[in-house]
Symmetry: D3
Subunit: 241 residues, 6 copies
């Protein structure tokens, strides 16, 4: 089983370089079921990180083009590598293999594990779109807190211990003030810093790593021979012609 995690921006051309792709690939591979082969690829579109709906919109056309090529190469499922799930529904119109949105997957999983969900973000700018995702997924009533650490997406990686400290502080506020009982890292870069086990141990509540959750969703759908409904996400009329 081949699963491709698509970073929808030119991360390998930036300061982190291709090494970051390999690092994420190794992490995903280490989380995978036996028999799963994970690849991480990025896209040459000039967006280094996604901190707005505008940047989400910019990456979608090249992301879908890339995903379509991956399907033709025989990949079994693709993961949209951004918590905001940019282009998820549009990609599902074009592809037949499962297209996984980490945000959608995390919210629906968290709704099973607890009653009051808290999402931890790097930047405040995306708070509204987190609420929108929860609204669409049907779990807005269970979203009890969205908190941020006011740090840019890539800035989180420059001092991981400091970022962890800030995330832990934000999580504690969410538990104490908002009575949260399950946490989600609302950013892929945060997730790949792999803090979830440590935070779970300190706080005693489930902490969802969005990369890991998306991978499990992808593997599950492939294993169950399921994919999105083409009646719900129809191939565009002009393509069918």
């Amino acid at each position: 089983v081949q699963i491709n995690y698509i970073i929808p921006g030119a991360i390998s051309a930036g300061p982190l370089g291709a090494g970051e792709l390999r690092r994420r690939e190794r992490l995903l591979q280490s989380w995978a079921f036996p028999g799963t082969q994970v690849s991480v690829t990025d896209i040459d579109n000039g967006v280094m990180s996604i901190e707005s709906l505008y940047e989400e919109a910019l990456v979608v056309p090249s992301m879908i083009e890339h995903a379509e090529a991956l399907e033709k190469q025989g990949v079994d499922a693709v993961i949209v590598g951004c918590f905001g799930d940019p282009g998820l529904a549009a990609a599902r119109e074009i592809l037949s293999i499962p297209v996984i949105g980490p945000g959608e997957s995390c919210m629906l999983l968290a709704a099973q594990l607890g009653h009051r969900i808290g999402v931890l973000l790097p930047v405040a700018e995306l708070e509204a779109s987190i609420r929108e995702q929860a609204f669409r997924a049907g779990v807005l009533q269970k979203l009890a807190a969205v908190r941020n650490i006011n740090e840019s997406v890539l800035g989180q990686m420059s001092d991981p211990e400091k970022s962890y400290g800030n995330l832990l502080k934000a999580a504690r506020v969410a538990l104490e003030e908002d009575n949260v009982d399950v946490l989600i890292f609302g950013c892929m870069t945060t997730s790949f810093m792999n803090f979830a086990p440590r935070m779970r141990a300190e706080l005693g509540v489930p902490v969802l790593n969005a990369g890991l959750v998306a991978l499990k969703m992808a593997e599950s759908l492939v294993s169950a021979d399921l994919s999105h409904s083409k009646r719900a996400f129809p191939v565009p009329r002009k393509r069918r012609a």
Copy 2:
């Protein structure tokens, strides 16, 4: 007051040509308040009409770039010329002037004029996204029917009388079977065929022309010196830097 209606696809390069832009411009101008100057422009991006979320996604980057240029030229408000409101929130992050979504505007207006909204579409493929728009706008409970005439967006214009007949038939079913009391043309091409007065006369319920409704919303916001909240749609962090 300068208002620009953006057709987010290369309609002038297609069979309809630039004449269609001028025709829509004349119609919009004829609907405008005194003192409003309406321009219609399109975008060179290869999408001739939008019948899927995929096509919506494709047009967003060039549409926002164009809208940003218009703001710099001193335009007072822009209208996203597609009922699906592609890129609406993303464009609001970049622009400070009002960015109008015809779908959002029509749904919220219809919710004031009646209790049970019916949306008439050319194609079935967009039914789910109409429901999604209503859900986001808060009026899903008032959306009583989404019906289509199974005709491509541009195909509607080849035989207007036939299209009108099909729309009227679909509207009658919505009134009789779904007890609809207010109708929306869920497509800009349908709207610019200007059937609303005729259908209203025949059916006795309000019929919303999405182009006209969007224009009134644009003019109202400019006149009231209002625009979207930049706290709700913040300028992307990297742009501010």
Copy 3:
């Protein structure tokens, strides 16, 4: 185009006198599109200001009678001059011209301009009915704060600077504690003190003047030749007989 703003109480017989009607008329006229003629009238029913649902109920019969007379005189649209929209649906059953509710109009407009709406009230007593209006309009999920300055409706006018100070303080709390991103003055008397531009300048978020928003809605409907659905608001059976 003739638009009539109805003050549903005997304000001209009170301490403010007919001068207040003329003052509001001048303000509305100054906000109008070219070609709009605005009149402000009041009603002889003993209610000097509306600070309860009881007072709302008291004014409805005479307000509708007055509105009906205005329609017969050729007025193109009427505005119910109370943020609580008393008798809105009932009046729509009797009239065919647009009947505008400032509360309904502001809530649906605010839902387009931001994600988290804050309403500023003079008195606490109407908080529940604000929530009820938001619930009915479909935007309750976006209503993030209802705050009051504990001042009677007419009392606000005795010391405008003090009232502005209190409103600004309440607005700041709504922004900081409730994370509001768009504000509404939930009272016509507050709105006609015309503080919106000043508060917007100080706080950096849109501030909706309910009188101005209602006027734009009235002008838009008349200009678009739209009115409420008589299928949704049917003429009472005995009147039709």
Copy 4:
């Protein structure tokens, strides 16, 4: 215990005369717990029956005035004698004793007795306001059908057997097509024709007589020494002064 059922219209001045008041009083008394004394009174306001929101609005001021007088006379609870609950919240601001709305009471009771509620109306005009009541009460999701027999409120009484036949037919459609499992008579005149036991026997589902349900609610609140919250329905500020 004294309970007063207020008919909010001049029914005794109409063709039915005061005899109809006594007939309803006898029925209510026959349904009462031992120790309850029921009176039925009407109001001199020119409305003979309520078939619109307009007529609802017309009766409210005199209804509240009458209710207030009854409270002063020592009545323990009042019932607003119209299924639409006109003026319910406004009356609660003025009175301290329980004010019962038959529509509100029936909907909340029906939500306990079944999952899919059907409301039977005389006229179609009030369908939207039934949905509105259900929405406010929180049970809109359980409202599965609103059906009418296209007969005026008072017209129902001219040929009771015909009316019963039409109601039974409408109920059967609601059961078969809408899968309803509990029925409400959405009109007081229908309720006082006392068809509920007969229809229940024929259809095998609970059928709620709105007069009986309102009486039980009134008796229960008085017996439990409960009334509406004056914090939720505050005395108008000018009255307190």
Copy 5:
């Protein structure tokens, strides 16, 4: 009329003994309408008090068996003596007489008496299930606070004055911080301590005693000859065979 209040646990075998059953019976009898005969019985199932969903689940089979026997003996209605309403829907499948859930009854009654409901619990563990009950009943939007005094169910009775003080303190926080306008004791043991009149007098808002409210609901249904719909709660297929 015979009404049976079922304590779904072996309270008479515990430290409180059968005396507690008699005490509750006397209280219920004192609250009853003339003509009502109330009995209180318990069940031999090893659960002394219910402080979790697990304990709720444990008591259901014996509770239903007992309720069924009571119906055969001619009892007119039964009350499930736990605020969490364990087994309510299941019991309604087996019984034809009314089965009353105190939690369901209180929430729907409170929704009529106020706008913002506060529930006072002994233990924090049941907070989530209170929200779930409110969600199911349709009144979640009106549930403004769930607060607890961190005391075991039976522990409340060891020092009633201390418990009252803690409840009063929790209620005051709910009023001041959450703007609650109607209160519910979310536990039968709390309710039978009969603090409601005293707290109402001190706080000026309605305080619902769940035992009293459940009794009124039972008496009302019996008096109105109503019970749950067997179409909504059908007899299990194997029983009908």
Copy 6:
């Protein structure tokens, strides 16, 4: 990894015998990821199949006791083998390992794969509880159809081809009349007849086998080292003491 599927009834003591347990075990094992070991066990409690909420309630105490023993034996996750998820929340209070509800899992997965969910049931009696599950999971708005084939749970197995024909017919109605785009088998016995691939091939929409979906959820949680929040599902107070 050890996963136990618990049939919450004495199926091995019935006509199907222990062979049915082994058959289901083989199917589950064939669907599992490499490294997963699946066991199927049943419980000695007299319920042969679950066709009512009453039967759901009867099985919960012994099901939880059995699940607890399995956790002590080192099992990594348990699946509640009934689509109605009986006792799911209660079991999560007692266990720390993941407890999977097939109904909950299917509804949340279907909400990702399509927009309009259809559930196919053997018996009509459980329709209301399916809606309740969807309501709780947050996806009620996406539940477009619940249809049944009027066949007892175990009766389905006596003539599989006939059952398949009836299911296919019900599914076709759901697609054509209710515009469903994703299907769920709302019963474990139906699911283990393994019709999903065949029906998907005939209808062209995803068809969810509840046993397979529950297994994938169990494997995913174990692999991701996640389980339900003990803050959301706390250990009962008396157990902690």
